[in-house]
Amino acid sequence: MHPPISEYLAGVRRGLRCPLERRPEVMEELCGHLLDRADALMGQGLSHAEARRQALREMGPGWFLALRLSLANGWSPLVPLFRQIWAMGLGFQVLVAAVMVSERAPEVQFMPVREACAYGVLLAALLTFGFAMGRIVRSWAWAITLIFALIMPFTRESQGIEALPLSAMIAVFVGSVLGSRRESPSLARPAWAAGGAVMLWWLGSDESARGLLVSLPDAVVGWAIVASPWLLWLSARGLEQLGRRRLAGPAE
């Protein structure tokens, strides 16, 4: 359409942090402003291309504009920080749970078809979970699997990565890459449910019951570890609500 302007706006859109339904309006408003300014500059004798470039120069760097617009819409820099730590913590827990489930699986006397179905459901859950993480924390989502890949060899007696934990990692990774390219808040809910299901599966296992429910000190430590990412998530939500309430509150 207007190459320099559309590229500039795409950069602003990438950095903008405000409710999803508001973003197209903000972009349309900025686009209209830039075109108005370019028209005015053309009226002063500038060429079509130079007028557009000058209009963009006057608007300043796209990332800075995006930051100012995000702050004006109640966003806080702590929100993405909390969300990224939350996503990495939760992602790590879900993957550990998935591996423990997979380690238990050979002991369970399933029929091969049922076993394959159980693995399929687990991988689908991880794929969906990764998708939500990718949507929420964008490009940082892949770090969940990277951290996991670095830590996992030290947590297992046998060295190396076996087929199912590897496929679990790939599922989360692929899901997070796909999720980082989409913008849909409604997709986060089924994914949280999928992550929660994997966690409950693990918490319901004999191993975790011994560790988390029988011994009180272990239970306190264990549940604190499980709950800590969610405290960060609640903090991020709280900050968002606070930002919007401050905006809507009485003027100083």
Partner: protein
């Protein structure tokens, strides 16, 4: 022509925007042109400061925005709300008081509070 200090303007940008909108609904670019026109080009609103300030005022309920078709382009027009009008009056009074105090300190006698 000397321009108004950017920092001084940024601190009072919300007041400037509300004052312009008190004359009737307008959209972003037209607000900038109007601010320059009223001050003979001395007051130039930074383009990357305009929309954050408008959105903040909208979030606080001082102004309200709506889309309108004008000049073959869809534009977001902002109008001052009753809450914004009240706030503008408060800011006007505060500015008069501040300007009178500054004039007193600087020895400027041309602008007495009653003149402003």
């Amino acid at each position: 022509m000397p321009r108004t200090d950017d920092k001084l303007l940024e601190g009072n940008l919300a007041t400037v925007l509300m004052a312009i909108l008190s004359d009737g609904p307008s959209y972003g670019y037209a607000i900038i042109v109007e601010a320059e026109g009223r001050t003979g080009g001395r007051l130039r609103v930074r383009q990357n400061a305009l929309y954050p300030a408008l959105h903040k005022l909208e979030g606080r309920g001082m102004i309200a925005g709506e889309w309108r078709e004008a000049g073959g382009r869809r534009r977001r027009y902002y109008r001052l709300t009753p809450k914004g009008r009240k706030e503008l009056e408060r800011r006007r009074a505060r500015w008069r008081e501040f300007a009178a105090s500054m004039n007193g300190v600087l020895g400027e006698t041309r602008y007495a509070p009653a003149d402003l």
